[in-house]
């Protein structure tokens, strides 16, 4: 039996970064808002306190803060001809769970995408000609420009207190920053984090090779900060338990440390935790959402009616809910028609491990934060001429050594046995003098006709609903890109004086066991044409105008950066359109 609850102005599905941003913006506009979150409420003080948060086995190896596949998972295959099988335990990416979402356990690498990333297809076609792109590559323009998003990037960075060195202030290139970034209207709110030994060596070597290294923009703060909402954060202590972990110091930007203390106190907001939305309800015409149905932890079903539905779940759960609710036409790769599931992407990551003379180098890899890197951007996006190389795309690369946690970070030179006395001796000798970046080469993945998401015909979740099915493989363009970037990256470690540099190229086929990043993107993309996009430029559903879909599921393809800065900027951009235009005149914001 379903209990029907009193109607709300807006229901938000998922209380991570985008859910928190939208809830705060819409309650400021006077709306009565409820957020429904599948996982538990999480508090810094009780869930990751500084006397037990630093536990590699529990959080990194056993995935304490993540969604449990028993609750729901996905099926996976490389090619359409294969049978997809369920992901039984997480590997290539780690879906978040609980209030704060991925904002709890992210590295806090807080980037902006390049201006040309947003006009990708037109830009590349203009520069290289349409024939330069592989025939089955389905990249698109976003329908929004960098200049339109700039104020919203700025808002997110000032919410978070992001630590960094500006590279481009209103068009003037700044020393020490990233000269390739789009113009920013003001400097970062806090200066860059201090750099450990290996990061400074990387910076010098990169400079020697003619590059312009700069400190990675970090949501782990270099100093204490009070954000515009009045929420106070503490300085990062470089503890080395950041990504995969919650921050016990209130130093890492997360919904908990930037928004929730203000949001929760508003009389027109409430959150429900441990409640899973099972469908978005639509009226008989199919053109209007009436609210959502959810199931609480005791199995009770509820209907929450609302005027506005804002989908703020993790990428692939957004897609699954749209498909299960029969909103938008499911994508069919054979006919190349339909939109939900189209242009699904992940990332192209690789790394380089390097070994130095242990009598001369002590790197203390445990002194770290999740976004403490010296990076270069010469090989990202279209910052270099791709003409001679025969591929498109790129990524940033850097010495982003995020930890020295010993289960994960005890590299040994190639040829060392995997066990026994020689292994033990190699671990002992190399721990302090080896480098293993947590993020090394952070490459883009562009979209393809045969990479997509639909519903699995066999495997079901605990409610008996079909799991989402991922069909995904690397294409030659990304493999070439990665080889080129990894070689460039390795040269910098050579120049640092490493006695041995080990390149770990990313190779096909895509492997679901091998962690890359949690940056799944696309599948419900924004764009200018309802035939090839699920959402208009304001993240509003073309089919159901009172439904907005936040998150990286809107990215038409993935760029060579971490996605959070961009998905948060898009959330502010969309919230602004809802507040200033939609609420005055509810209906489509763009007429196709």
């Amino acid at each position: 039996m379903t209990t029907r609850l009193p109607a709300k102005d807006a229901v938000i599905v998922g209380l991570g970064w985008t859910g928190s941003i939208l809830a705060n913006e819409l309650t400021d506009a006077g709306l009565d808002v409820v957020a429904i979150e599948r996982g538990p409420w999480r508090n810094s003080a009780t869930d990751f306190a500084p006397n037990y948060a630093q536990d590699e086995l529990r959080y990194r190896i056993r995935h304490e803060l993540f969604l449990r596949p028993a609750q729901t998972t996905f099926t996976f295959r490389n090619k359409m001809a294969q049978t997809a099988l369920p992901i039984r335990n997480w590997g290539a990416f780690m879906p978040p769970n609980g209030v704060g979402g991925g904002g709890v356990h992210w590295n806090a690498e807080t980037w902006r995408f390049l201006p040309t990333d947003f006009t990708l297809r037109s830009h590349l076609t203009q520069r290289y000609g349409a024939k330069f792109l592989p025939a089955d590559m389905t990249i698109q323009d976003w329908g929004v420009t960098y200049d339109e998003l700039e104020p919203h990037y700025d808002r997110f960075e000032y919410l978070c207190g992001t630590s960094g060195t500006a590279g481009n202030l209103k068009g003037r290139i700044q020393p020490g920053g990233n000269p390739f970034e789009g113009p920013r209207s003001r400097p970062y709110p806090t200066p860059a984090q201090q750099q450990p030994f290996s990061h400074t060596l990387f910076g010098k070597a990169a400079q020697g090779l003619g590059y312009k290294p700069f400190p990675q923009p970090s949501g782990n703060l270099s100093r204490a900060y009070v954000n515009p909402l009045g929420v106070r954060m503490g300085p990062c202590t470089y503890c080395g338990y950041c990504e995969w972990f919650g921050c016990a110091n209130y130093s890492k930007a997360s919904p908990q440390t930037t928004i929730l203390p203000v949001l929760v106190r508003k009389p027109n907001f409430l959150a429900r935790d441990l409640c899973e939305v099972t469908r978005i309800n639509v009226d008989g015409s199919g053109g209007r959402a009436t609210g959502v149905t959810y199931v609480d932890s005791s199995g009770q079903e509820f209907e929450q009616p609302a005027q506005l539905v804002i989908l703020c779940a993790y990428t692939i759960f957004n897609l699954q809910l749209l498909l299960l609710s029969k909103i938008g036409t499911p994508y069919d790769p054979t006919s190349n028609r339909g939109v939900i599931g189209r242009n699904f992407t992940h990332q192209t990551i690789s790394d380089v491990e390097s070994f130095f003379d242990s009598s001369k180098f002590i790197f203390n890899p445990f002194i770290a934060s999740g976004a403490i890197g010296m990076c270069i951007d010469e090989f990202n996006g279209d910052n270099f001429d791709h003409g001679p190389h025969g591929f498109v795309g790129g990524g940033y690369m850097g010495q982003v050594q995020t930890n020295g946690r010993p289960i994960e970070t005890t590299p040994v030179p190639p040829g060392t046995p995997k066990w026994g006395a020689k292994w033990k001796q190699a671990v002992r000798e190399n721990y302090l003098s080896a480098l293993k970046p947590g993020t090394g080469v952070h490459g883009s993945m562009y979209s393809y006709r045969d990479v997509y998401v639909d519903l699995d015909p066999t495997y079901k979740d605990r409610f008996g609903r079909p799991l989402a099915r991922i069909t995904l493989d690397f294409h030659e363009n990304e493999i070439r890109q990665n080889r080129f970037l990894t070689d460039k990256f390795a040269q910098i470690f050579q120049a640092m004086g490493a006695k041995q540099v080990v390149k770990q190229y990313r190779l096909a086929p895509y492997d679901i066991n091998d962690y890359q990043t949690t940056h799944l993107c696309g599948g419900a993309i924004m764009g200018t044409d309802p035939k090839t996009s699920a959402l208009n430029r304001y993240l509003q559903s073309w089919d159901v105008p009172n439904l907005f879909v936040m998150g990286a599921s809107a990215f038409p393809q993935n760029a060579g950066y971490n996605p959070t800065g961009t998905l948060a900027a898009l959330a502010y951009w969309s919230a602004d359109a809802i507040r200033t235009r939609y609420l005055k005149n509810p209906g489509p914001l763009v007429h196709a």
Binding site: W41, N43, T46, A49, P50, Y52, Q54, D55, R58, I61, H63, R68, P69, A70, F76, N78, Q82, T83, A84, L85, P86, I87, R88, N89, G91, V99, Q194, Q195, P196, T237, C239, G240, L260, V264, R265, P267, A271, R272, D273, L274, S297, S298, I362, F366, I367, P406, I407, T410, K418, W419, G420, A421, K424, V427, R428, Y431, L432, D511, I512, N513
Partner: protein, 244 residues
């Protein structure tokens, strides 16, 4: 408060995750929810006899742990570091039963890129594999069980498992050995509250400070060796003289 908690961790009891067991859907409104004594504490390994292994299995795992991480004059081996105790407690707990994993069928073999599709839990696999290992030794080594082999014979057999030249009936022996190495090494490097890494021996071996949480004064001190002994979640023995 935190001091008391540390002691409870050290005592190794009363560490059931009450909060998770009681987690029920709720409404959060008006103020941040908080209640005393609701910390999400870790579940420490309890001392005592084997929880999962039989006496014979425990002895076999201890011998395996000492081949994977042999003792040397500076650092304990896998057995004395407690890696077998670690693995025993892990197999008796959520890890042993694939708790939280997607365990619904059908189980199809698939390709390696699709991830493990094994209906056997680690607990079942370890039980099968240790029995099969003894069975193999009895035939191949004139009636001697695994623990009765010389270190050299043991190493030779393990190299055979690793390379796939030694096959055990009823399981993927190569995959089992790969997971065994991973599990034993995890026990060696994990926080000592889980039963391995005794006296933080693994952390001392490499120079890892452990659960130390503040390096602000050290981030700018380049190429200098960290001078302090490591510390674990339960502190270090000098902090708790009554328990050391």
């Amino acid at each position: 408060m935190s001091h008391i908690r540390r002691r409870e961790v050290l005592a190794g009891t009363a560490l059931v995750l009450l909060r998770q067991a009681a987690a029920k859907a709720g409404v959060i409104a008006g103020e941040l929810p908080w209640a005393p004594n609701t910390e999400s504490l870790p579940t420490a390994a309890r001392p005592g006899p084997w929880f999962f292994f039989t006496t014979a299995e425990g002895a076999a795992i201890e011998a395996l742990a000492d081949r994977i991480i042999p003792p040397d004059p500076e650092t304990l081996g896998g057995k004395d570091a407690g890696c077998a105790v670690f693995l025993d407690r892990q197999l008796a707990g959520p890890y042993g039963h694939n708790e939280g994993h997607y365990n619904a069928g059908p189980f199809e073999k698939g390709v390696e890129q699709q991830g493990p599709q094994n209906p056997d839990t680690p607990a079942v696999t370890y039980r099968k594999a240790l029995a099969a290992l003894d069975e193999y030794c009895l035939h191949a080594h004139g009636g001697r069980s695994w623990v009765e082999l010389s270190a050299q014979d043991q190493d030779e057999l393990l190299h055979g498992l690793e390379s796939g030249t030694v096959v055990l009936p009823g399981l993927d022996a190569r995959k089992f050995f790969e997971n065994l190495v991973r599990d034993i090494q995890q026990g060696f490097f994990a926080d000592p509250i889980y039963g391995g890494n005794r006296d933080m021996c693994a952390w001392k071996m490499i120079g890892f400070p452990g659960a130390h949480y503040d390096y602000r004064e050290w981030v700018g001190r380049h190429n200098e060796r960290w001078p302090h002994p490591p510390v674990g979640i339960a502190g270090r023995p000098a902090w708790n003289p009554d328990r050391s």
